[in-house]
Symmetry: D2
């Protein structure tokens, strides 16, 4: 029984530990594992090869994905999906494990309904915005990359009496920014989920500066799209010299933390177990500390939300 793995959409840390676990556990289960390179594009172009232990030797410590990833426009077209199916059939593959985001899951759900190739999706995106799961692969590593950068910036902020605005990734989800703010002692945090009050912030900080505050850290989620403006506002309205740092793609990389390696291990184990026992349309969720599979319709049925406890605390950083 052939089973294949691909990493799709945006890349993140944890994918490589997942690929390693995939190969080892598949072999343990008496399956024939295959690797698909370059995500859906590679599925279309038959970049599919049998996998051995040697293929995954040493990759557990590496960030990103050795299989690479892609966003595929061609997969939207039936002829290319037919091609993808023909490729899988030729290799004798009838089960797919996919590490990626909900976009990839939807695509494979369509594929499943057309061709019957069972798949199990593993939520993997540093944005942590897939509905139904408390955790997406890559988030812990991204948070710790942000933490290191924020600690470095704090050194220079405190030495130069400046305000620093740090823009994090997240698409439309403020999780990375909010958790980073709560765990770094930032003074301001702007995320899409919460309204903010600049006048209130201005009053508060002018008072604190008069009272001795010498520097400040503000963390802004990219989804708010306000980091440069906030930087200018800090200089012009609040009266503190300010600098902006856009953290960028360092947030996608880095050797996976232990948590991301562990979750990758668990996600992939559950995914393969589910496929082997006949599950054919599912996504693995991590909810209430349990790994379980859910149907794709659940994933697309709602918007992910940040815990109210964090949001409650985050409000204080918006006014």
């Amino acid at each position: 029984m052939g089973i294949a793995i691909m990493t799709s959409g945006g890349d993140c840390a944890g994918m490589n530990p997942g690929i390693k676990r995939f190969v080892e556990y598949s072999i343990e289960k008496g399956l024939k594992p295959y690797l698909i390179c370059d995500g859906l594009e590679g599925l279309i172009d038959n970049r599919i090869q049998p996998a051995t232990h040697a293929d995954v030797a040493g990759i557990i410590t590496k960030g990103g994905s050795v299989l690479r990833s892609s966003r595929s426009a061609r997969f939207f077209e039936p002829e290319y999906r037919q091609q993808a199916y023909d490729n899988l059939k030729a290799h004798g593959i009838d089960m797919l494990v996919v590490l990626g985001g909900d976009g990839s899951f939807r695509a494979l759900d369509v594929f499943y309904r057309e061709f019957g190739i069972a798949f199990c999706g593993i939520p993997a995106t540093i944005d942590n915005d897939i509905f139904g799961t408390d955790y997406c692969l890559g988030v812990d590593t991204a948070l710790n990359v942000i933490r290191q950068a924020t600690d470095q910036i704090r050194d220079t902020a405190s030495s130069s009496r400046r305000a620093f605005v740090i823009e994090t990734m997240g698409r439309d989800c403020g999780y990375l920014a909010l958790v980073s703010a709560l765990t770094s002692g930032a003074e301001i945090c702007l995320i899409p989920e919460l309204p903010y009050d600049l006048d209130s912030l201005k009053k508060r900080f002018q008072a604190e500066i008069a009272d001795g505050r010498t520097y400040m850290i503000a963390i802004v989620s990219e989804g708010v799209d306000f980091a440069p403006q906030l930087t200018r506002w800090l200089e012009e309205e609040v009266g503190m010299e300010a600098r902006l740092t856009v953290l960028g793609h360092t947030q996608r990389g880095g050797s996976p933390t232990v948590l991301d390696r562990l979750r990758a291990f668990e996600f992939v184990t559950i995914a393969i177990d589910a496929l082997v026992t006949g599950s054919n349309d599912g996504v693995v969720f991590y909810k209430n500390c349990q790994m379980a599979t859910r149907s794709i319709s659940e994933v697309v049925s709602g918007r992910s939300e940040i815990s109210p406890v964090y949001l409650e605390e985050g409000r204080k950083l918006t006014r």
Copy 2:
């Protein structure tokens, strides 16, 4: 209403973020926060002082505990517990938050029954061996310290065709060693919870070496007390040059990871909420992804256990 915090027993990362959250949240709740230095010894010797925001500025990034910790023999004696009580009374403190291990919780339980000072314990030990909670503060940071060291050792192991034995902490609990082994691709893992079969391991590795294996990583928990012997066995029986690295106290230190900062935040918030609402004998547990308080009798009623899923996987590394 006076509320005080102490860190007790072995120190670990996450204690400082917890202390910071304690001061800020206490003030938010209209309480008067106090800091007790040097754990139970400091409680006896009145090293108690009122806390301000300035006391906790910048500590969120620091490993260890700025309040320091202690193991107290004197606290076992009633006269010193009386002294401790008198100190608290003099300061008007009637609530205690304690970050530490079950030893500290038991001591404060006795203290509560004698003097009625309510306390809430927060499990904090890198050994992750407190019954009832899935997570103890400090574990994630310790795991990532081990990960970095293991990655460094892997460089030299692969370059010198050697087997490396790495001894981790854990007291009698193999959690640190097992999770480290599973997330680093180690070939052998010995922990107190699992029997091991040296003959089986010898057969397996002699075959793998004949087949091309050039190096090996073995992770041994201190509770097994076998690391030096395993190192000798690798050289004499398996036939691969071997070296031992005892990781030691680096595992206790390091800037707290984001997860440890987040859990510290959550643990302390729940602890203060519980005390304020009249709970007077409890420990905060993190179970099934929820923070909740439980009575001390639950803590001492059983032995912590590692998840069967991990143990199952761990067995393969023992034979």
Copy 3:
């Protein structure tokens, strides 16, 4: 004999180890050490205090400067320099150690000629652009911050088949960018010191991409002011999806590396020795592996240059 230290201009790692060495060595030499906060601004506003061992306990591991830094417009005006002098006289300080850039050295040279306060400057700037010295404090730590970020970006670049442009600091000096490119295997490096040929680069990379190259790293010095344009050029002309990361102020921070701590120790030792033996207008240089003092006129007499060996190698990354 009073001797004071200040950190001036841009902050950098290594300043804190320098401040610690200053206090300890001054005391050893029988001098009375003073700390000046906030650079020249603090000198004007009398933020001067006697220093003790306690002031510098634990700072050796910290990035930035606990004394903070400033760029002073007021110091250009004679009345404020008079005020500064009066402050020093009041404290009995007649020797100054200054960690900063050539701007600070020039200011203190003027001050010396007016008031006779001997100073010794220590080159400290991550840009590494002070003429006469091979090494400026802060450079090694900045290079390793860039290295970590580049390694993280390489993970995602290789996983997503993209070209990544990384903009580093440096003002008008390409040292940070060039050394980073040479030690990270970057494919392109644009610095102010070297002309570049986009057509030649385009030909070369289009051939390499046809031949199998899947991703690319380009490092651009801020002094070239071309990073966004290069990013667009990569997408539009070379035909590879491209992203830009501006590393920003993380390059100023971070716990000082061993080299920066060692150089700080050496720089400060030489500076104090020079002042004690009557030198009254000098800068400490690190040249040919020796620490030696030179007069300020030497510093301002030329432009720093990057080693021809590095430039030679760098040319290959411009065409």
Copy 4:
């Protein structure tokens, strides 16, 4: 013209950047590069293969050596050296670059005198004990591994009021220990090069403890062979609880720092230039900030020494 590279003796960071530079620069110079695996043992057993760019893609960030290393007993015997020579002749290789220690240089010097195969040695050992050169590859990375571990231990030392003894590598050279002590603020440092006075240390620390000192860091070089005894002495004589951490082989690993990558680049460039211009018995030294070749007889003519400036400062940590 065939030129080959091997890494020999103990492994260290910087070897991989050196191997990468070797392949690229050899090709640039119109030479045919070869890789020898497993040091002298591989030379004997013909583990020699032609090198391509693909062989060294991505290795610049990796610790250790992808060619691995060995200590060869067989190379002492003429028949095996003959075998080694025959292997090189068969491949058309008449130039060797060797990254290793003086033991490897001596062996290849004998080999050169017997068979005329020119070699250029590059000093590579974390012990930094090769006479004639100020710098050996791998030292900067090792120092920063020690720094991180020492910072982690400082967290727990200060939290638990303990003295910590940290044993570093170094064979008979105290460089690693001494520089680590000077740049981490350690209170005690014992190295082979300096006598120490326990009575004096005891008096001093008993006074400091009475005066408020709560913890202590001692760094001991393995060459002194006294770390466990010092630990006991601290508890029994000085009266402070003490723990020992032997840093072990983590000191050999880790991604090479920028300095090690840069020196590797420079060392290899000079080595290949020297061989190409007809030098046939030499070692590359880094002295007074210059790379230059010297004859092997110079290397073996003396013992390396630590700078008197560092030793002077180190004395204060021995009594």
